[in-house]
């Protein structure tokens, strides 16, 4: 059992109107000094067996082609060895 965590963020040069709206709300709620907020997505994927070889390559490819859009987003993928350990 493995757990894959993929974080997807808009590239720095892409305007993030949602992040900007959140930044405004943080300020209105009294948090001073917020200079930037970027909003992203996290995918947590549990998968049977060890993730290696061709399956790991495919996971990487799908993180790039499906979970993110390389035109506007960057992704970061971590493979954690055991979902049970992670859950504890």
């Amino acid at each position: 059992m493995a757990r894959v965590v993929v974080d997807v963020m808009l590239k720095p040069e892409i305007l993030d109107p949602q992040g900007r709206a959140v930044q405004g709300a943080l300020g209105r709620l009294g948090l001073t000094g917020v200079t930037d907020v970027r909003q992203g997505k996290q995918f947590v994927i549990d998968i049977e067996g060890d993730l290696e070889g061709e399956r790991l390559e495919l996971m990487h490819r799908l993180a790039e082609e499906l979970l993110s859009n390389p035109v506007i987003e960057d992704y970061r993928m971590q493979v954690l060895p055991d979902a049970q350990d992670v859950a504890q």
């Binding site: 808009l10 892409i14 305007l15 109107p17 949602q18 499906l66 979970l67 859009n69 035109v71 506007i72």
Partner: protein
């Protein structure tokens, strides 16, 4: 026999019926295509309609891009089949990399619904040949994620090659870079457009009939080449 124009229905498509109706009003035969069927049924052109395919989950158009019909469509488009993507269809074309760039959340964060003035900037595409260069039109616009973005190099390339098909006039409703409302591929057979020409094909139901020429353009081009 009039040309056959396929209109793809995905789960969550909204404007497939209006697109089919626009094809018929323009004088073509509309053919319903289904996302789960990889057969294009011999159509002469395809419209990817507006809506919220797969609920806009993940990213707009990101899941539709991998529908069985899209594998056939991408191959056919690369071979020259005319394809028009409207709104969600434009998003699907970008996700499929048939067109460069991407559509992102409107900079205002509001869903915008208005009659929008545009300028047709390129009349060399299969879908805009019936317009006059520089012609101004008014057609409905309705989107939440219609901001066209691409890196500066891509934007310069689109401008340099005359591939900006339509530009927003008066107001930029969604933060699109360089007021871009629509673009085409290099060959001119694939066009993506954020506003909705299929809702402006009849006086009774639209703000104008300015959208009709998108559909007559492709039909005339198909008749001329047959």
């Amino acid at each position: 026999m009039s040309p056959r124009v396929g209109v793809v229905t995905f789960p969550g498509s909204l404007d497939d019926r209006d697109a089919a109706r626009a094809v018929r009003i323009a004088g073509g035969e509309a053919v319903a295509l289904w996302h789960g069927d990889d057969d294009l049924h011999g159509v002469d052109a395809v419209v990817l309609p507006g809506g919220f395919s797969y609920g806009d989950y993940l990213r707009c158009g990101a899941i539709a891009r991998f529908a069985p019909v899209m594998a056939s469509l991408v191959d056919a488009a690369k071979g020259g089949l005319p394809v028009l993507g409207i709104c969600n269809g434009f998003q699907i074309l970008c996700e499929s990399h048939l067109l460069p760039g991407a559509l992102t959340r409107n900079d205002s964060l509001h869903f915008i619904c208005r009659d929008q003035r545009l300028r047709i900037e390129d009349t060399s595409s299969t879908w805009t040949a019936d317009y006059a260069a520089g012609q101004e039109i008014v057609i409905p616009l309705k989107n939440g994620e219609g901001g066209f973005v691409a890196d500066e190099r891509t934007l310069d390339m689109l401008e340099g090659e005359g591939r900006v098909v339509a530009r927003y006039l008066e107001v930029n409703p969604n933060g699109s870079r360089r007021d871009i409302a629509g673009i085409r591929n290099e060959r001119g057979n694939v066009v993506g457009l954020m506003p909705h020409p299929e809702h402006a094909v009849e006086e009774l139901t639209g703000p104008s009939t300015d959208g009709l020429a998108f559909f007559t353009s492709v039909l005339n081009s198909l008749v001329a080449s047959s």
